[in-house]
């Protein structure tokens, strides 16, 4: 059964509507065939059902079988031999006629012959025509058969004439329907072939990733567009080339946006330009647009093939390159580019200024042009080794200008690699001649200053030695006189001795202060930082101070803050000097009340020496300058308070040398507070 269905399916498939399941088509065909046969042979079938089978005319059965064989043969001939069905119809009809005549002579009933012919035509039509046309044919044939029978009946013609009429009508009908069908099929096939070609063309142009479209010269409308162009909104026949790509209401033009179409039409040659195009989302990009003319048979440009490429990236790269080029051209450093052999390919204007050579004098030469001979061959060998390894070389060298003068340059040479091979070397040169000279001058100046400083220190040391020794004599003899070492003194002599002692002491302090000040100024003072115990520092410094205070009837107090570490790092001798300077001043300028020296810890990382008094205080305007050398609040130097005028200056400089600050808070009539704040160091060091 299946093979039977597939047989029908194979022959009939071309004639049935597409998309119909195969088994359904086969059954439909069989049903239509069965209904047709029933429609024609209904009277016979009824009569056969009513009479016994053996009474059925042997002739009729033969006719039916013969007609079927002929039909099949004709079909196969038409199918494979491409024999014209009309020819076959005639040939088949004649053959059938002859066969029938041979078999039955004139004995065959004419009505049966006619039915054979009708059936034959119907089966032929069924096999050759498609379903719809077959039905049309069948209806027409039936109607024509009825018409012929009716005409015969009305005119009383011979039955044989009606057979011929039937035959002719069937043949004409079949031929007409078949021809109609063939035309239609040819048209359809042509249309399908055209569509196939169009599809192929579309596929080809869609394969191009950049917008590709055809523009009509007449109205600038898009006639063909590939997918990329459609994505940009270039819908065929609806939009113009300029509307969407340029957001313009009129065709492009001018120097900025030259219209490729106009160029192509006028010049009849391909044209290339750059446009800014819009994407549907409003963003823009640079496009290189190429237009190619399409000519009609008269040689007129009717359309243009346009092809555009997004060159935004290229433009950006070009701009980047231009920028870099500008930067290199205007760089303050000399820039040179050489090939791997060291031959100059490019030098910038700074290079020209630096070396005195013009660009065209340098290109094609090697850096040997600038060689001064001041560097050893090993120097250059090492340089080349470095850059050939692909590493950056950096260093200074002396080169020779065109005019023969020498100059220092600081050079960075970097290899440029492409595909793992060095393609160029880029050298950036800085003329450091001035810098070199300055360095040399600075070095000399520093040496001079250092030797001057050393000389000054030596001188000071010498002078102080020379001053202190005779002072020792003056002070020593005077004190011995006071102590009656040379016999008892009278009151006048005692007073004189006292004056000598006092003057000698003053002079001695003066020498000390001058020496300290000079040492600090010459930066030759060195701090001897070491661990010390703050309590001991306070005690040592207070010893002499308390005596001085007691002499003036002042209270002298010391305080040691409990949160101060037990040990601190510092130069205890200099710290003692600071305390003695500040507290000594306080005692000197306080008439009554007290002087207090307090060691405190104002912050976790700092400690402080706070010296306060209840003295006269220091006026606001004086607070600014009392730390300057030789400045005192009251220039009236009295016997009671005379000093070198260097104490505070030395103190301030010492404090700063120790990395601390000194602050003063004072109010006239109430007293002064000097606060020295110093960092708490972790360990002794320079």
């Amino acid at each position: 059964m299946n093979s039977f269905i597939s047989f029908f399916d194979r022959i009939l498939t071309p004639r049935l509507p597409k998309g119909m399941p195969a088994w359904y088509r086969a059954r439909l065909t069989m049903a239509v065939g069965g209904l047709t046969l029933a429609f024609y042979f209904f009277p016979e079938i009824i009569s056969h059902l009513l009479v016994p089978l053996d009474s059925v005319s042997r002739t009729e059965i033969l006719i039916i079988l013969g007609g079927g064989a002929l039909t099949l043969g004709g079909f196969l001939a038409a199918k494979w031999g491409r024999l014209h069905p009309a020819v076959w119809l005639v040939l088949g009809g004649w053959t059938l006629d002859i066969l029938l005549d041979i078999a039955f002579g004139e004995g065959m009933e004419l009505g049966a012959t006619m039915e054979v012919w009708l059936m034959f035509g119907l089966v032929m039509a069924f096999l050759l025509l498609d379903l719809r046309q077959y039905l049309v044919f069948a209806v027409l044939q039936t109607l024509s058969a009825w018409l012929v029978e009716w005409l015969r009946y009305r005119s009383g013609l011979d039955t044989s004439v009606s057979v011929e009429l039937h035959l002719a009508a069937t043949a004409l009908l079949g031929l007409g329907v078949w021809l109609r069908q063939r035309d239609q099929r040819q048209r359809e096939e042509a249309a399908a072939a055209l569509q196939q070609q169009k599809d192929y063309l579309q596929k080809v142009i869609d394969g191009v990733q950049s917008p590709f479209y055809v523009v009509d010269v007449k109205d600038y409308r898009i006639r063909l567009a590939n997918r990329a162009a459609r994505d940009l909104g270039l819908v065929t026949d609806k939009v113009t080339c300029y509307a969407l790509t340029h957001r313009r209401a009129e065709p492009c033009g001018g120097d900025e946006h030259p219209c490729p179409l106009q160029h192509v039409r006028v010049e009849r040659q391909p044209y290339t330009t750059e446009h800014i195009h819009f994407r549907p989302d409003g963003s823009t990009y640079y496009a290189e647009v190429r237009g190619y003319p399409l000519f009609d048979e008269n040689g007129e440009v009717v359309q243009m093939v346009e092809y555009s490429v997004d060159i935004t990236e290229r433009k950006r790269a070009e701009a980047e390159i231009r920028k870099l080029q500008q930067a290199v051209e205007h760089a303050a450093s000399g820039v040179a580019i050489t090939n791997p052999q060291g031959v100059f390919e490019y030098v910038n204007p700074t290079f020209e200024r630096m070396t005195g050579y013009r660009r065209e004098e340098v290109i094609g030469q090697t850096p040997r042009l600038l060689k001064s001979g001041k560097q050893s061959p090993e120097f250059y060998a090492q340089l080349w080794q470095t850059i050939r390894r692909g590493e950056v070389w950096q260093g200074e060298m002396i080169n020779r200008r065109k005019d023969g003068s020498l100059y220092w340059e600081f050079q960075t040479i970097a290899p440029v690699s492409a595909n793992g091979k060095i393609s160029h070397y880029v050298a950036v040169k800085l003329d450091v001649t001035a810098q070199k000279e300055m360095e040399e001058q600075l070095r000399q100046a520093k040496e001079t200053a250092e030797s001057a400083s050393a000389f000054k220190s030596q001188l000071l040391s010498r002078v102080s030695h020379e001053l202190r020794t005779p002072l020792g004599g003056v002070l020593g003899y005077a004190e011995l006189m006071q102590a009656d070492a040379f016999g008892a003194l009278n009151e006048q002599q005692r007073q004189a001795a006292e004056n000598i002692v006092e003057s000698a002491r003053y002079l001695s302090r003066m020498v000390d202060d001058l020496l300290s000040e000079a040492e600090i100024s010459a930066r030759s003072i060195k701090l001897h930082n070491d661990w010390f115990v703050p309590a001991e520092l306070l005690e040592t410094a207070s010893a002499a101070l308390s005596v001085q205070a007691a002499k003036k009837g002042l209270t002298f107090r010391t305080e040691l803050s409990p949160d101060l570490p037990e040990r601190l790092v510092g130069d205890s001798r200099r710290l003692g000097q600071i305390i003695i300077n500040l507290a000594g001043n306080a005692i000197k300028f306080t008439v009554n009340g007290e002087v207090c020296v307090c060691l405190a810890r104002p912050a976790p990382d700092r400690w402080a020496i706070v010296v306060s008094d209840t003295g006269a205080g220091i006026p606001k305007e004086a607070q600014d300058y009392i730390f300057e050398p030789f400045r005192q609040v009251d220039n009236r130097i009295t016997r009671q308070n005379r000093g070198s005028g260097l104490g505070l200056s030395i103190t301030k400089q010492l404090v700063e040398l120790m990395g601390g600050q000194i602050a003063l808070a004072s109010e006239v009539g109430k007293g002064s507070v000097f606060t020295v704040t110093l960092p708490i160091l972790d360990a002794p060091g320079e």
Binding site: S461, H465, R468, L475, G476, A504
Partner: protein, 117 residues
């Protein structure tokens, strides 16, 4: 009662005299004005106190100090340096017992020496 021996090494004759006068109440004083003779004497005696200047003709004060400190038999000697050179004074303050910066007060010197007697 025998007074302890004090050597005064000072090239300035006036200062030398002042030091001698300051110490003579409490010590038997021997004065030297150059380093070499002081060194020679040190080989013979064990003084209680040496008053030492640093800048001296002949052997320098620092050499004498080193010699004293190196000699085990002289370990009880107290060395007081009297100098006008505060840098050297700083440098030698560890090795010497006391360092006095000139000008030295004879009164204070006498008080200091008396404590050592």
């Amino acid at each position: 009662m025998n007074k302890p021996l004090a050597l005064i090494v000072e090239d300035d004759p006036q200062l030398n005299q002042i030091f001698s006068l300051s110490l003579q109440n409490d010590f038997t004083v021997e004065s030297f004005s150059d380093g070499d003779s002081a060194l020679a004497r040190l080989a013979q005696v064990k003084p209680r106190l040496i008053l030492l200047d640093l800048h001296l003709p002949g052997a320098a004060g620092s050499a004498i100090l080193s010699r004293v400190r190196a000699d085990e038999t002289l370990r009880d000697v107290t060395v007081i340096i009297c100098t006008a050179d505060d840098r050297q004074a700083d440098a030698l303050s560890e090795k010497a017992d006391f360092v006095l910066l000139k000008p030295v007060s004879p009164i204070q010197l006498r008080q200091l020496a008396a404590r050592l007697k």
